[in-house]
């Protein structure tokens, strides 16, 4: 019984992750501006992968590979927002017409 509960909960998490990935893909092609697209990509990279791997961990049970998946989640949560931050920073530094896309706070 407990195995079935684990399996169903894990599958639900996995399906949620898949839906999030679909939203990410749609958003990455739906928007034109780089910051919007970057937001969508980072959304999938952190939330989507986190939820998917959480589902896999629940299905897998307590095991050594579960720990590895947790490490993957931590690694991606460290790495992906930083790379998005760098892209955003590069865009803000190089784009001269930033005001046409958003409000820019004057310092």
């Amino acid at each position: 019984m407990a195995e079935w509960v684990c399996f169903i909960v894990g599958t639900l998490f996995l399906l949620t992750g898949l839906v999030i990935f679909a939203i990410e893909l749609y958003g990455a092609y739906r928007y034109d501006y780089v910051l919007n697209r970057m937001h969508m990509a980072a959304f999938g990279d952190t939330f989507g992968i986190g939820v998917s791997l959480l589902g896999l961990m629940i299905i897998n049970g307590f095991h050594f590979s579960t720990l590895k998946m947790a490490l993957i989640i931590i690694f991606l949560w460290c790495a992906s927002p930083v790379s998005s931050h760098l892209i955003a920073r590069l865009e803000a530094a190089t784009n001269e017409n930033l005001e046409t896309h958003m409000e820019v706070e004057k310092k």
Partner: protein
């Protein structure tokens, strides 16, 4: 006693005219030929158009930009020949595929005595639990040596092509730290990139040690499980590149310079050469190999495979880092 000619008589002689011509004292055409000063060159619209028309006509004639009949036929023939050739190639390849043995049959030619030997006796002969490691670093170590040298040669080629030699500026005063002025830095800003980013530096502080430790783990466990020198070296190289991105060249130059690259690569490759020469020599002459195999599964086992993995890993890590540095700045 020579008779001296008067000026008027002398002017009529050949010698006078010859020396005048020799010294270019006289312009023979001045005041004799009708002369006009050159008008400034003014090109009318008509002239420009004519010139372009002539140029186009010449180009068309030379390069066939406006295609003549024979060229058009040739192109048609070329396209047709392409299609026919591709069709023949596809037919031949499909014909070859139809002769291939079906997948999953036990007596395929792939399942010959070579792979059987690797699988059955590899553990005894090499001492490596990971058969792939045993294969590439023991049975086929010569091949892996070539691959490592290919990496080294590729780095040398990139160095030849992309190296940008910065002129070493004479530092006039001891207190002057910056060798480049601000304007030069503005033009050549790759000397100073990346601009220090606190978030990236924090992430790098956390991630770089983990990445490098993981790479070392992969290298050291190459004979026990999946991994080995190539993959572990790539991981370490990625960690080094992340560190470089976060903290800039001034920090990495403290431990990784051109000299480091040179000696690490040279040391690894020559160690590989010498170690494998020894084992080939003893093997070919039926001498006893003094390197112990150890117990399979222990970290210090499988003879030469562990040190060779380390050598290959060092070469790969250095190569990745050197490639990145070369494409980014053109020097270490």
């Amino acid at each position: 006693m020579s008779r001296k000619k008067t000026e008027q008589e002398y002017r009529k002689t050949f010698a006078f005219r010859f020396f005048r011509w020799l010294n270019a004292e006289e312009d023979r055409y001045l005041d004799k030929v009708e002369m006009h000063p050159q008008e400034p060159y003014v090109e009318t619209e008509e002239d420009i158009r004519r010139r372009q028309r002539e140029k186009n006509a010449l180009l068309n004639k030379l390069y066939g930009r406006k295609k003549s009949k024979s060229v058009r036929y040739l192109e048609l023939f070329y396209k047709g020949a392409c299609i026919v050739f591709c069709g023949i190639l596809i037919y031949l390849l499909l014909l070859t595929v139809s002769y291939l043995p079906p997948i999953g049959v036990a007596d395929r030619p792939v399942n010959n005595e070579v792979s059987r030997r690797y699988i059955e006796e590899g553990l005894d002969e090499t001492g490596a639990v990971n058969i792939v490691s045993g294969m590439i670093l023991d049975y086929r170590a010569f091949d892996t040596l070539g691959e490592s040298h290919v990496l080294f040669v590729a780095t040398v080629t990139v160095l030849i092509l992309l190296r940008a030699d910065h002129k070493k500026k004479e530092r006039s005063s001891a207190g002057e730290e910056m060798a480049y002025s601000l304007e030069e830095a503005e033009i050549n800003d790759r000397n100073y990139e990346p601009k220090n980013d606190a978030i990236l530096q924090m992430a790098a502080c956390i991630l770089v040690p983990i990445i490098i430790i993981f790479g070392i783990y992969v290298i050291l466990n190459g004979h026990l499980g999946p991994g080995g020198g190539f993959s572990g070296g790539a991981i370490i190289g990625a960690g080094l590149i992340l560190y470089l991105n976060a903290f800039g060249f001034q920090k990495t130059q403290r431990f990784f310079t051109e000299k480091t690259y040179k000696w690490v690569s040279f040391g690894s490759l020559s160690f590989y050469c010498i170690a494998k020469s020894y084992s080939f020599y003893t093997g070919a002459n039926h001498l006893e190999n003094i390197i112990p195999k150890g117990t399979p599964g222990a970290i210090l086992s499988s003879g030469l495979i562990l040190p060779l993995n380390i050598a290959v890993g060092l070469v790969v890590a250095c190569t990745m880092y050197a490639f990145y540095v070369m494409f980014r700045k053109g020097g270490f």
